[in-house]
Symmetry: C2
DNA sequence: ATATTTTTTTAAGTATGCTTGAATTCATAA
DNA sequence: TTATGAATTCAAGCATACTTAAAAAAATAT
């Protein structure tokens, strides 16, 4: 009971729960996976039978412990591949996600552990997401804020970007706004809720839409009070 | 029309033709792929329809140019992965084949070309097999002899080993008889057709069965006549 | 030439994972 | 409380890739 499809279902269920703190609705899951509601109905039955999810209809779908372990394993393979592809093979930042989306389903434990070791047991992937460890634990990710919530005049570091936004990541690469870049919020335009930020010698205008996909950590200068 | 199954069919058809210089018989193909004759019948129809093979019944199956290009591509991916896994990730010699058997079907052109470049556009895989180039051409492999055909007293270099013989390769690794090892044939025992060979400081007895899986190139010492 | 054996194909069935459209079940708003 | 709409499931069908058993076709042996 570990096929490409089931692995993708488990991953989506897990990620939704992680992002929103609640079980995912069957209709939502169908939309997210681009399949029909009937397909969800079918698959939910299979996953339940195998003890991977618990599903109360009209309530939502949740992973069991067993299902969560499987999901974490897929995510581990995904994120380790992403990091390996960009670090070792120099695959562009914007492309690693879609390559990993395939490889995550075709990698033995032995191979992924070698990749993990080769990379020095990293904690974060190229988009700033935590990489589940072999034992299933997750490095803690801070509570980031999005640029849309940032304060004028403050300094931030870019900590995380949505990995599935290929076009956005191409753009960020092009303008040099990569992960771990430190910048200052120069201006927040009320008119269109866009931001003007400055990093290195670049001044960049960031639309509201983009600002919602950039996850930041505020940089507290030495000597400044935090609170 | 490029699924895991079809890729495996094409590969087998190609390899048989390469090894024996003749089209493969449908029954033989069934045995090689561990499927029923009925499955071959089905698949042969599909592959023919897509112009990948030409099949005259009771005569045998042959790749078309298009089919051969596809086969070469799969083999390219397979052999590049093998080399990458052993060189970069230090996966044991005896295990790279089975890992590559999976990855060969899940690797984009972009990724395999990066791997090729990373390895410096190599000509041979870890078992001494030629790696098809991006353009479909094959580096020439010499006409090797097997140890079973070797002459007492002569010197040879181990040039190629059957990649699917996992146990054999484990054994060769254990005793240190790896690819490109140079050795002398000390003795050939008529009794069981076994060989005694010497390389570095090791004297090894090689059974007849093993001797047939080791492909060699004779080493002509400087000053010796060839013929 | 005929019989036997081998090769090949057909037919029906299984499993996964989808689809669409029609039923059904449930939640909720009037 | 009942009507409406949303969520869910059922039924039938499709595609891939297999299986076994039986039938058919061709090759080979006598
Ligand atoms: Mn990703
Ligand atoms: Mn996936
Ligand atoms: Mn191989
Ligand atoms: Mn394969």
């Amino acid at each position: 009971m570990s096929t490409i499809s089931t692995e993708n279902y488990l991953k989506k269920i897990f990620n939704h729960n992680k992002a929103f703190g609640e079980k995912i609705n069957a209709v939502k899951l169908a939309q997210e996976l681009s399949v029909s509601n009937a397909a969800i109905s079918d698959m939910a039955k299979k996953l339940s039978k195998h003890g991977l999810i618990s599903y109360e209809k009209y309530k939502g779908i949740e992973l069991t412990d067993k299902g969560e372990q499987m999901a974490l394993n897929v995510i581990r393979r995904h994120r380790l591949w992403e990091l390996f592809l960009i670090k070792v093979l120099d695959i562009p930042w914007s492309e690693v996600h879609e390559q990993a989306e395939v490889l995550e389903h075709h990698t033995s434990d032995k191979l992924i552990d070698r990749i993990d070791e080769f990379l020095g047991f990293p904690d974060f992937d190229p988009h700033g997401h935590p990489i589940p460890r072999k034992n299933g634990s997750l490095p803690d990710a801070q509570n980031y804020v999005t640029l849309a919530e940032a304060a004028e005049g403050s300094s931030y570091e870019l900590m995380q970007v949505d990995d599935h936004e290929k076009k956005l990541i191409s753009y960020l690469t092009k303008v040099g706004f990569v992960l771990n870049t430190r910048f200052v919020v120069i201006d927040k335009l009320d008119f269109d809720k866009s931001y003007t930020i400055k990093f290195n010698d670049t001044v960049l205008s960031v639309s509201q839409k983009i600002s919602e996909s950039l996850y930041l950590q505020e940089i507290i200068e030495a000597g400044e009070k935090n609170d």
